[in-house]
């Protein structure tokens, strides 16, 4: 028995854990295998989550990114006095009398002029003047009318406009429409596509980034190219402001009371069960509630973000309360004792020590609750926010009471529309929604990392 070295013969030992450390015994091997498996499960689980996200994101991005680009046609429009201001008085009321239908011929003429200018003709492509006009969005007439009403003095001039191309033409440059599909399509002909190519050649047609998608309001079914998410974004923003300002403080306050202050008895048990149960209430039921309480009883306006925000607040509260309570529960009691021991009041011990330690869980609950609220459509259906809204709500606080739509509503609406051009816009809106979500979460995530610690 001298110095035991690495090559010493393994002396038979009596201990339960005899044997070299370098080669694991059978049981340890088995346990280690279990360990490895367990760890692999964990990694797989994370992998599945991330893979699912990547898959969904790729498909959303693939479908949605084109929505941020749009095809435009540049035309020089002669603002014909004979059509727009017959009396020549430039009286704004008289000019307003001319409806958008009255502007259509101007565009038709401008199109013809453009084709002439490029030295081509409709006949080459077998398109009529009406077909050529149809290549331009129906929004164009409205655009023209707005311009004329804003600048009556320009009547009689020839002005250059950049008009949206119609959805099918735009789809042609995004791969949605092809010559073959155009054959069967009742809304576009191969001739129109060829003409579009010719216009592109001539520099009158181009595809570029489209701010309008972000700043414009929804448009009706027959002009998908003009549809934007401006109103929906504002609506969602307003609602999220309300949800965040109400749900987080109320949720945390309620949790603190229930977890730290409320006597533990059957009443608090009832409340606890009741709150978890609220989380299981289908969201549309919150819509029923919102309609009954906020609109019918309290008389708040319909389609308004304030009602939407309140309904979503009620819907989000259980999520925040449940997660907050769980986090409060997981703070070790010794921390509370320590604070009470130096003469802190219960309130102080909670706000100074327990709450910061529970913050990561609270923030997680908030993130998830807000994500849910941001993506919810069903409850909005009953309070009038699943709607076609063109007018922008004004700035808060009045804006909270103006009609608005919401991002998920816009997505939902667009996915139900007949024109396939809306599919890409729906995905585009989802991208915006996710960006929204990321922005909201970013702060929470940063905060959460600051509060995370182990003791």
């Amino acid at each position: 028995m001298t110095d035991a070295t690495a090559n010493a013969a393994p002396a038979p030992k009596q201990g339960k854990h005899a044997g070299s450390l370098f080669d694991a015994d059978a049981r340890t091997k088995k346990r280690n295998a279990a360990e490895t498996r367990f760890r692999a499960y964990g990694l797989t689980a994370v992998g599945i989550g991330v893979a699912a996200l990547i898959m969904l994101m790729t498909s959303i991005l693939g479908q949605g990114l084109p929505a941020f680009n749009q095809t435009f046609i540049t035309l020089d429009v002669y603002l014909d006095e004979a059509k727009l201001d017959k009396n020549g008085t430039r009286d704004i009321e008289a000019i307003k009398k001319v409806s958008t239908f009255g502007y259509a011929p101007l565009i038709k003429n401008a199109m013809a002029a453009k084709v002439d200018e490029l030295g081509i003709s409709f006949e080459t492509f077998g398109v009529s003047g009406k077909d050529a006009e149809a290549m331009i969005s129906k929004e164009a007439a409205a655009q023209l009318r707005r311009f004329v009403i804003a600048h009556p003095d320009r009547i009689g001039d020839t002005v250059e406009f950049e008009f949206l191309a119609s959805g099918r033409i735009d789809g042609y440059y995004k791969g949605r429409v092809s010559m073959e599909s155009a054959e069967k399509d009742s809304n576009v002909t191969p001739g129109q596509l060829q003409l579009a190519d010719a216009l592109k050649e001539g520099g009158a047609l181009s595809t570029h980034f489209n701010w309008g998608f972000i700043t414009m309001a929804d448009a009706s079914e027959n002009r998908p190219e003009a549809a934007g998410i401006g109103v929906a974004m504002l609506g969602s923003l307003y609602m999220m402001i309300i949800v965040l300002c109400l749900a987080l403080p109320i949720g945390v306050a309620a949790s603190i009371y229930l977890e730290e202050f409320a006597p533990k008895n059957w009443i608090t048990d009832l409340i606890e069960v009741n709150i978890s149960n609220l989380a299981a209430v289908p969201s549309i039921v919150f819509g029923i509630l919102g309609l009954a309480i906020f609109i019918n009883y309290a008389g708040l306006p319909q389609s308004a973000p304030v009602v939407g925000g309140l309904v979503l607040t009620l819907m989000t509260l259980p999520t925040i309360i449940i997660s907050t309570r769980a986090s409060l529960k997981s703070v070790p009691p010794s921390i509370r004792d320590a604070a009470l021991g130096v003469g802190a009041s219960k309130m102080q011990s909670v706000f100074h020590h327990v709450l910061p330690l529970a913050a990561p869980g609270i923030l997680t609950g908030t993130i998830i609750g807000l994500a849910q609220a941001l993506g919810e459509t069903a409850p909005l259906m009953l309070i009038g926010m699943v709607a076609f809204v063109r007018e922008f709500p004004s700035a808060p606080p009045e804006g909270f009471f103006d009609p608005a739509s919401a991002l998920p509503v816009q997505v939902y609406n667009w996915t139900t529309r007949a024109d396939p051009a809306f599919v890409e816009r729906a995905s585009g809106a989802i991208i915006v929604l996710l960006i929204f979500l990321l922005c909201m979460n970013f702060l929470a995530i940063v905060l959460r990392r600051r509060f995370e610690r182990r003791w």
Partner: protein, 493 residues
């Protein structure tokens, strides 16, 4: 905006109160905070609270009550004939309000002096025209009763606004005075402030209760209507769901309930293991970097609108499930299946389980792990036997949340599992086959509520009965969960 000014004035006074209260308390203690019962800031907050809270409460109450009172008073004065003409008092009132607004605007724009605005007579002058000039929207001719009502409305509003300002400011000042007088070194400011905060906390928790009451109330009435039109035995024990436009539908809820439980079960069978393992991996094994990235990423899954998942189920997962599993196994050839919806919903629910559990697991003190490691336990043994039991209440909470979400989901079910209820009459095989199309209570609540059937018919009203029944059932499940948590809870330290 006078209300804003009042609020600002009150808050300003509160702020002054904060400092005065603080100073006075300090003064009474000769500047020595040790002599004070509470920290100086508590005296400040106390003064602020007393100044601002009652005043603002009264302001809020006033703003809620006064318009109603004015409407009622003005409305009561409108001749019956006018009301009959317009259809309802509330519509006349809309006109009155609009006219009052136009008068205000007219005065503002100088088109009318204040005196005229008060005693202008609709029968004599061209009021409608003059008001339209202001740019206000006047939809029909302003008649004399409406004009008079509008003038009364303006008067009352002005008086109400005046008294409101007075009352609120007086109250704020009174609160201020009381608070400042009370700010003495022996005054228990902290206790007072904390009681105030506690009341706020209690109020916050009552909101959850009120929501429940509201939900039950808003569904109870219509549920009652439903059961008047449809026998409850058939609803609760019926095994067939077949609404019909001609009436005499079969509205048994069992197939829906079964579908709900089955699909939720599959979804949780996907989400809970994956979510829990992800949480364990992230909190126990992963480095801080991976964790910082992966956790928020997984959370995004909760924020993707369900319609995306629905389409994913419909277009991608459905055919895969059918072609790779259902058809080869001879279990059906429908793209709609419990499996499809369950799988996709499971993915959506992963973050509900993972993120929350991760936080809770992370909160388990390191000493617990050390104790286990010190005995030669592997990491996974430690997790399974020490960490998870200690984190159990939180994890159960997370799972409950996920289950709740599964029960409440519509879009994924509609697109993944279809809209047809489980076919009990087709035998047990069809009911337990996970590759069979099925639907849930929630889907039917939504579809009956948004459908085309007569809104007073049982086909529509059944949505409320379904909602209420689901509410009661989930309540039962939650009681069970609470009981389980109580039984197995392990409190550390």
């Amino acid at each position: 905006m006078p209300v804003l000014w009042i609020v600002l004035a009150v808050l300003g006074l509160g702020l002054i109160g904060f400092y005065v209260g603080r100073m006075r308390a300090l003064g009474s203690a000769g500047g020595d905070t040790r002599q004070l019962h509470s920290l100086p800031n508590y005296y400040g907050w106390h003064a602020f609270m007393l100044t601002a809270v009652p005043a603002l409460l009264v302001l809020a109450a006033w703003l809620l009550v006064a318009p109603n009172w004015i409407e009622n008073t003005v409305g009561a004065g409108i001749p019956e004939a006018t009301i009959a003409e317009s259809g309802s008092r509330s519509l006349v009132m809309a006109e009155v309000r609009r006219a009052a607004g136009a008068l205000d605007m007219a005065v503002q724009q100088g088109l009318m002096d204040a005196a005229t605005s008060h005693d202008i007579d609709a029968n004599l002058s061209d009021v409608t025209e003059r008001l339209k000039e202001t740019g206000a929207i006047i939809t029909s001719d302003v008649t004399q009763p409406v004009l008079q009502a509008a003038q009364l409305y303006r008067n009352l509003s002005a008086i109400s606004a005046l008294w409101m300002s007075v009352a609120v400011l007086v109250l704020a000042t009174a609160g201020f005075a009381v608070a400042v007088l009370r700010s003495d070194k022996d005054f228990r400011a902290r206790n007072t402030v904390e009681s105030g905060i506690k009341i706020i906390l209690i109020l916050a928790s009552t909101i959850a209760i009120l929501t429940t009451v509201g939900i039950v109330m808003s569904m109870l009435f219509e549920t009652g209507n439903f059961f008047e039109k449809y026998p409850w035995q058939h609803f609760f024990f019926g095994t067939k769901w077949a609404p019909d436009f001609r009436g005499d539908s079969e509205l048994g809820m069992l197939p829906l309930l079964w579908g709900t439980l089955y699909i939720s079960f599959v979804a949780l069978a996907v989400a809970v293991p994956i979510g829990l393992f992800a949480a364990i991996y992230l909190s126990e094994y992963a480095g801080p970097k991976l964790r910082a990235v992966a956790k928020p990423m997984i959370e995004i899954l909760a924020g993707i609108p369900t319609i995306v998942y629905g389409l994913f189920a419909l277009i991608t997962v459905g055919p895969i499930v059918r072609d790779w599993f259902a058809a080869p196994l001879g279990l059906g050839n429908s793209t709609n299946s419990v499996m499809t919806a369950g799988l996709v919903m499971g993915i959506m629910l992963i973050p509900f389980v993972s993120s929350l559990s991760d936080d809770i697991i992370n909160a388990v003190p390191q000493a617990m792990r050390d104790g286990s490691f010190g005995l030669g336990a592997t990491h996974s043994e430690t997790i399974k036997q020490v960490v998870l039991p200690a984190a159990l209440p939180g994890i159960v909470g997370a799972v409950l949340l996920a289950a709740s979400r599964a029960i409440g989901e519509t879009m994924i079910v509609v697109m993944g599992a279809g809209a047809a209820a489980a076919q009990f009459q087709a035998g047990l095989g069809a009911v337990v086959n996970p590759f069979e199309a099925m639907t849930t209570v929630t889907v039917k609540i939504v579809s009956q509520l948004t459908g085309d059937t007569d809104f007073a018919s049982p086909e529509t009203l059944v949505a409320f009965a379904l909602g209420l029944t689901l509410f009661v059932i989930t309540l039962g499940l939650n009681v069970l969960a609470l009981y389980i948590v109580r039984k197995y809870r392990e409190q550390y330290e």
